[in-house]
């Protein structure tokens, strides 16, 4: 096999990162089958390595890859006459070309393709369909929209390659078997379905964000992949403020990444972080996005969460944090979502404004709803400590330790215990 020169390898890698999702989405619509689309696109990329090495990188790599993928799909269908019959087909509403109509597009080959229609929203909403489990949605989204390999996704979620491959295969079978339609949901369903999509992206981000100490490169890549996809969604859905809000939230949180761990890899809490290590450009971008969101007047849960992150982001020092604003935002979020985690965070904010006692009251009744969440007893412990209840605080830290998930968390709680 010919050795691949760095410029060619880089061009292929770049095309993979930038174009996989867009090409896959269009091919899926043309072919009516996610499987066939994926196989053909994979073939096209492999062919590109050899072809571009021999003839140079084309002016419009995306067009080249699309043509190559379509050609290979046609070849596959011709070679195996029964394949078309056996293929699990997607329900593709309003499709002009259908499976088998591929030949009609031969006229558009090569340089005549001026724009590749962006079908990514269809692909995204399909991958994030509520009929699929969150696990399946996440894996599928990263594979189809992100272009990550199965191995990369497996590593990200700490499961064996074979497990992740099976998960993705099952998800694709389910899409075809259950008749999940390949389309952007109708306006009436859109808000609910969009929040499902955003939830997947937020989950991906949090997988990367809550890294164990010594955060490995793949975890940071996850955060960046989530941000990249959030950008795509925000760009493709300019009329949906929640999409922009999620992007703002991710940027504002990610901005703190270099200050979250000390040199020894231990967790540093927000008030103690070295703010000079925050990414000012990302904070600025997050704040700008929120201005537009505020103007839209449509404030959803992600907008509120982003606004809270923005309050932290715009405080030059911890002491400058506008806790009154944050507490008010958490109250709105609490009312909107009824989420126990939100209530917990609200308690922390209330403590900053009105002291530990009213905050403790807010935590009442949460244990039943968050039986395995270490931050609940940890927060309660902290409030008790501030009220001078050392004995109860110790007990709560112990409870938290029993629930903590990774080394950084356990280490932090142990330190708090010894400081008591």
């Amino acid at each position: 096999m010919t050795a691949v020169s760095p410029p060619v390898a880089q061009a292929v890698e770049q095309a993979l990162r930038n174009s996989w999702g867009r090409l896959l989405a269009l091919l899926t619509r043309l072919l009516g089958s996610l499987d066939l689309a994926e196989d053909s696109l994979q073939d096209a990329f492999e062919a590109a390595v050899t072809a571009w090495q021999r003839a140079g990188v084309p002016d419009r790599p995306e067009a080249w890859l699309l043509t190559a993928a379509r050609r290979r799909a046609t070849d596959r269908l011709r070679r195996d006459a029964t394949l078309a019959r056996k293929l699990p087909l997607l329900v593709v509403p309003d499709s002009e070309p259908g499976p088998g109509d591929l030949d009609e597009h031969r006229a558009e080959e090569g340089p005549e393709v001026t724009t590749i229609p962006d079908e990514r929203l269809r692909l995204l909403f399909t991958c994030c369909h509520p009929a699929l489990s969150m696990e399946a949605r996440t894996a599928l989204t990263l594979r189809c929209l992100g272009g990550l390999t199965t191995a990369e996704i497996a590593r990200a979620f700490l499961v064996p390659d074979a497990t992740m491959a099976a998960r993705i295969t099952r998800a694709k079978k389910k899409i075809a078997g259950a008749g999940i339609p390949y389309r952007v949901p109708a306006d009436a369903e859109l808000p609910e379905r969009l929040s499902g999509v955003l939830a997947v992206l937020y989950l991906v981000f949090n997988e990367g964000y809550s890294a164990t100490s010594g955060d490995t490169p793949i975890r940071r890549d996850l955060c960046e992949e989530a941000i990249r996809l959030a950008r795509v969604v925000a760009a493709l859905m300019p009329d949906e403020p929640e999409a922009r809000s999620l992007l703002a939230l991710l940027l504002l949180q990610h901005a703190r990444r270099d200050a979250r761990l000390d040199p020894a890899g231990r967790l540093v809490l927000l008030p103690d972080q070295d703010r000079s290590r925050w990414d000012d450009a990302q904070i600025a971008e997050g704040l700008t996005l929120l201005v537009a969101v505020a103007r839209s007047g449509r404030i959803g849960p992600y907008a509120l969460q982003a606004a809270i992150a923005a309050e932290h982001g715009r405080a030059a020092r911890a002491a400058d944090t506008d806790w009154v604003a944050i507490a008010a935002l958490y109250e709105s979020l609490d009312r909107l979502t009824g989420s126990p985690v939100v209530r917990l965070n609200r308690a922390v904010a209330v403590a900053e404004v009105s002291g530990p006692r009213p905050a403790l009251g807010l935590l009442d009744g949460l244990d039943a709803r968050l039986p395995a969440f270490h931050l609940l007893p940890a927060t309660r412990a902290d409030l008790l400590r501030r009220l001078g209840g050392t004995v109860e605080a110790r007990a709560e830290y112990q409870r938290a330790l029993g629930l903590a998930g990774n080394a950084a968390e356990r280490d932090f709680l142990t330190r708090r215990l010894t400081e008591l």
């Binding site: 329900v91 509403p93 369909h129 509520p130 009929a131 078997g177 259950a178 008749g179 999940i180 339609p181 949901p185 369903e189």
Partner: protein, 112 residues
Amino acid sequence: MQYLFLIYADEDAVNALPAEQRRGLYSGHLALHRELADRGLLRYAAPLDDSPTTRTLGPDGLFTDGPYAETKEQLGSLYVVECADADAALTLARRFPAGPGHHVEIRPVTEV
């Protein structure tokens, strides 16, 4: 695509409902049944006798009285309906009259 809708309910609680509420559930089903039939979408539907009347052939090859799964919520009726896609099926699933312990399992099927 054909979808099978399995309607589950807490049988005992349904039977304990005041007669008027039970009638309400039943007439709700009748109305939906009629609408789907009129639209040519209903392939098959039936309410089932109470679960204690079930006879179950177990993996051991022996028949026993009673349902297969001893759960509080039992299958009460089933519908087979032609739906455009999964989203249409989910929309329809929300329309079945809901008694105590109500939920709906949606399964795509191929008629044989």
